[in-house]
Point group: C2
Chain length 700, copies 2
């Protein structure tokens, strides 16, 4: 399953810097909409998307800012995504009395649709190449650290100017490891309401074991509606519903937001990931999972609170394990080594190229060596996995940062980003102090064990006291669980923050300096080198191979293509699709024991279903985490599926795409319609999706 | 799928000589009935089989002499086995007009039951330890070759004496690499009649892709009835049918005839298999498969003729590929190396042991080195894959061998074996000269390519002529396709054979000498060393570890135990069972394209089935090729399943049993009853199986 957590954790792990190793072959690639693979598509499939086709698909595509994708599926603002993308909002809308995660939700009329506390959706409305402007902002003979600073300042300036000029969310995206910078402008939506979600057991059937596997039987869907000015938005661009779906072997596309990939990293970066990042992150996540599972045993309400996090961590552990196994695969690494060698030889064969680009790989290798020495500190001088810890630091930093000139702030406090930060910081979504306390105690205990009591961060955090004691004091004594209190502190400025005797605010004040120092060290010693060298490698690639490929994923809109097709699996073949029959086979095969129990509705209403209805299917489209919720689209620009996962073989896709068995998994549109009509009494929603009639719009 | 071909081919490849590496753990082992794992069973499952239980299971078990297992399932001689074990007989009973392989068969009354042309079934009635007698027969200071000869002579003598005394088929079995010899006596049945077989498409659903995989949906069953004196035999010992089957986690047993394993071979032998035997056999089989597939394209009758062989070779290729991959797995080989090293160190630590056994491993390694040098000749100085070639050699050799004293004959012509050889040699089963011709041409062409025209065997076979020409002459000109002609030659003795101008007989006379020479070389240089050294290693193992384990498989009756249980698969879990639902899911998942098309009866009568009926299931019982058709038995000695295959992960079981994911696959008894009653209108057969009423016995 492709999920939020995976993207964000991957973002923490590795910066997306590297090199394209070879011209693209096969159904590979996450292409930017300014550079679609028209030649490949024409050669392989005799199809060339028109500019109108591309625009229609782009404007029908929706980014879920907390880490996922979706698409408009009606002219009145319906947005289709995955249940697991909606999960955070479902959890936040739930209460101890009413659990939408477990029981699902359906608004029979628009008046029953539920406003989400902090869901921001984006639609990419324009793209502009700003490479030259960013490049010109870097002074000649600047050090790597100075260059990084200058680049970031210019990017902030570009974003701010654009925001002021257009009112659209602006984001400068680094592509091809810094060989290109693009200004992406987004239409932003913040009034998003929940229309439909099935029970989690229907959406995530088979649970953690079946996650990232196939054949599957998941109704991993949720439907929201976007509002503007209190009314459903008129969505001119939306994907027409095609309940027939796509045939075996048919060409299809996926338009969505792959989070991050490391396909073009250098060997030194991959080795660093293999030897340091992955072992550490897996260790950290497994420990946290144990803490949350323990918390969930305390009672049904604790279980409800922890459900979302447990799901996210299990998902991340499984994804990272698959990726890590890729790095441990000697064949894969040998191939990476061969490819890098061949590329460097091509560069070395041209004196001018060698002079300009030749040092880049060794620069990175040197930086990674230093990075390794500092790794333990970098990894454990932080608060890991606590929402309250993040909020507290944001509250403390907010006034300080806002006083600085825009270009000198930490990036997330720049004018172009600040609205999004405020939207999340002041969200009314509930926080669970009991759970936060055990998570804080865990992260502090872990830092103490890994770094020792004398470490500056540990000292600032604990000052000799026990992690449990400190966690109890700050989690149970704080008022930061209240959004209004957070806002009052931020509004009160530096003085209010400095004067607060809230124990968590005081704690955040103490750890702010060591955390800032650590962050600066990484920027100056790793990120700056990787950015400078990555840019050289990216340019070398253009010089050697031309712009025949796609950039590593950046959680921005990409187009993937491929066919609906099975694959060799475990000694036999995986079918291109599954049906409702298979759900009942799998349930019975485990005697209906969790996670293979059927949602009661599915067991009771089984006979209403035509069991031969297609349920899930697979495509060779190249997708990764972040693509969750992406539409599968046919040549006619119609919706023929809903991406929700990749198979276990696709996890090495973080480093390499293997056409033979890399598959993305989608929900079939016929299954969605059948479930809505036969199981969920949601015929009017199905009618709206199928364009059969406008849905009654209730009083609002 | 565990099948005939696999056993026989494996027998050709490697002699079962080696060493037990460590005491047995887990659900491992194919135990002889004289040494059941009572201690392990009591410790793990709190169950101890009584002597009566063991006798009941043993006498209910049936060996299919052409390579498979089965069991008595009624008091009137019904024997249950797999469709693919019955396949040879189904093919032989079929005609161009009536294809029982494709269409299945059901005898509604006993009078309609079809007598099989050459099916011999055995039941193991007694076992006697003859180790001392065999050992005493070897003169002191005999060379390895002399010792082998003396041993074989004594074995022939024991078998002959037993046959004369008891009238029972006698077979001396070498166990624990020659540390033990046992005289097994079998009740032999040769009047065996076909009662029921489903369509091959129901029995072998999913074809070659799904072979050796799971989850599965196969009705891989067939039912015979044993007759004596023209009447159904009264089978006192038979397994009571338990249509409930076994629960998830339940202790179960498998009683059957695993063909051969190489778990206790030395590292040198495994390396020889990896570097020589497997690459060669796979090359040979793939070439022959191509020839047969080509032949099958000539027309529907040719396709019908070739079907059984194509099935067998595809099965063998898949099995050998899985085994070969095991040998290529560096982890597996490293473990074998570590275990051998540890064992040898234990032997070396005791001066007496070292003196007696210490040289064995190096002896084998030296022999394998010589074997490698002669490998090409040994492999290609033979007729491979032709029934007519085998028959011709047997006809030519029969009178010559029979003139010799029993102990000096080639083993298959000894008195104890001769009835079985005659039963198959004089079988009225049809032969297809067209198909035999292309197979003869192929094997001769291959020998020519691999050995060159000057090789003594090639020279004797071709004498400068082309393989196609020779094959045409001998296959189209021979009368050996007629069983009566074969018998007349054999009855005519050496003179008749020498005088025959049948071109195939003349051909067999020419190649007899070089083939005998090759066989003698292997006996003197490889088998004799391996037997002598293997015996030492086997004895060393008893000395070091005690008799805490089971011998490698020898196509003799063994008891395996384990539980009904799923396993980790491809990132998720395989269920412990499948249901009829899953069959329809898999069919639709491939749009019903072959080999996933449904037999028409199954599609048309689907609504008669309760789809939740269990279909196939998996157990951790340790089985290999030859176990096909074995009953799965519960603590009460009832039949709860029918073994028909192993999963892809079980193929390395030839070398090592891994409890985590080695699984045998069985048909559930409930699926058999449901299919018989609802799909095949065979209610009276189902009644007989379930003991509900005696079946009408028609005039015979």
């Amino acid at each position: 399953m492709k999920s939020l957590s995976r993207i964000f954790l991957a973002g923490i792990l590795c910066m997306s810097i590297g090199l394209p190793l070879f011209p693209v072959l096969a159904d590979e690639g996450m292409w930017t909409f300014d550079n679609p693979p028209t030649k490949l598509l024409q050669e392989r499939y005799g199809f060339t998307p028109t500019a109108e086709w591309l625009e229609h698909v782009r404007l029908s595509s929706v980014r879920f800012n907390d880490g996922g994708s979706g698409s408009f599926v009606s002219g009145r603002g319906l947005v289709l995504t995955n249940h697991h993308v909606a999960l955070g909002q479902l959890q936040k809308l739930s209460t101890p009395q009413r659990d939408y995660v477990k029981d699902g939700f359906y608004a029979a009329t628009t008046s029953e649709e539920l406003k989400c506390p902090d869901l921001e959706l984006n639609v990419l409305v324009s793209m502009e190449d700003v490479t030259t402007r960013v490049a010109h902002a870097v002074p000649k003979d600047a050090s790597e650290a100075e260059a990084l600073k200058a680049r970031k300042a210019e990017i902030a300036k570009i974003e701010k100017e654009s925001l002021e000029k257009t009112g659209l969310e602006a984001e400068v995206v680094m592509l091809y490891q810094g060989s290109e910078y693009w200004l992406y402008r987004y239409k932003k939506y913040t009034d998003v309401r929940l229309v439909f979600a099935p029970e989690q057991q229907a959406a995530f059937y088979g649970g953690d074991p079946d996650n990232f596997t196939y054949p599957r039987y998941d109704l991993d869907m949720a439907i929201f509606r976007i509002y503007e000015n209190g009314q459903p938005v008129e969505s001119k661009h939306y994907l027409k519903w095609n309940a027939r779906g796509a045939d075996d072997g048919e060409l299809v596309f996926v338009s969505g937001h792959p989070g991050s990939t490391e396909r073009k990293q250098t060997l030194a970066q991959l080795e660093f990931a293999r030897d340091y990042s992955y072992p550490a992150i897996l260790k950290i996540l497994k420990r946290r999972l144990g803490v949350l599972r323990q918390y969930a045993t305390l009672g049904p309400e604790q279980a409800r609170q922890a459900n979302r996090s447990i799901f996210g961590i299990e998902n991340a552990v499984k994804a990272f394990t698959g990726e890590y196994n890729g790095l441990l695969d000697k064949n894969l690494m040998a191939k990476k080594e061969r490819d890098e060698k061949a590329f460097r030889e091509k560069v070395a064969a041209n004196a001018a190229w060698q002079k300009t680009y030749g040092s880049a790989w060794d620069d990175i290798a040197r930086a990674e060596k230093g990075h390794a020495e500092m790794f333990q500190a970098e990894r454990y001088r932080s608060l890991r996995g606590t929402r309250l810890g993040t909020i507290a630091l944001q509250v403390v930093r907010f006034p300080t940062e806002m006083k600085k000139p825009d270009a000198e702030r930490l990036e997330e406090y720049r004018d172009s980003q600040i609205e999004s930060l405020k939207f999340s910081l002041f969200s009314p979504a509930p926080l669970y102090p009991g759970m936060e306390e055990v998570l804080l105690a865990n992260t502090l205990q872990e830092s103490l064990e890994e770094l020792g009591a004398a470490d500056p961060f540990v000292k600032a955090a604990l000052n000799g006291r026990s992690p449990a004691e400190v966690a109890k004091e700050i989690a149970s004594g704080t008022k930061l669980t209240d959004a209004a209190f957070r806002k009052s502190l931020v509004d009160g400025g530096e003085a209010a923050v400095a004067a607060s005797n809230d124990p968590l605010v005081a704690f955040a004040r103490r750890i702010d300096a060591p955390l800032r120092a650590m962050r600066k060290w990484t920027e100056d010693n790793v990120e700056s080198v990787a950015t400078a060298a990555g840019e050289k490698i990216g340019q070398a690639r253009f010089a050697v191979y031309g712009k025949s490929t796609y950039p590593d994923a950046t959680f921005t809109l990409r187009l993937a293509y491929g066919t609906v097709t099975g694959y060799p699996m475990n000694g036999t073949k995986a079918p291109y699709k599954t049906t409702f029959y298979g759900l009942f086979d799998r349930a019975l095969g485990f005697d209906m024991k969790p996670p293979y129990n059927l949602p009661p509705r599915w067991a009771e209403r089984k006979d209403r279903l035509e069991l031969s209805t297609p349920f899930n299917f697979v495509t060779s489209c190249d997708v990764v985490g972040g693509n969750s919720g992406s539409p599968v689209i046919n040549r006619n620009g119609e919706l023929v599926g809903l991406i929700f996962d990749g198979n276990i073989e696709s996890l090495v896709g973080n480093f390499v795409y293997i056409e033979e068995n890399n598959r993305s998994i989608a929900v079939h549109p016929a299954a969605i319609i059948a479930a809505l009509r036969k199981l969920y009494d949601a015929g009017s929603l199905a009618d709206e999706l199928e364009g059969k009639m406008a849905r009654a719009v209730g009083a609002n």
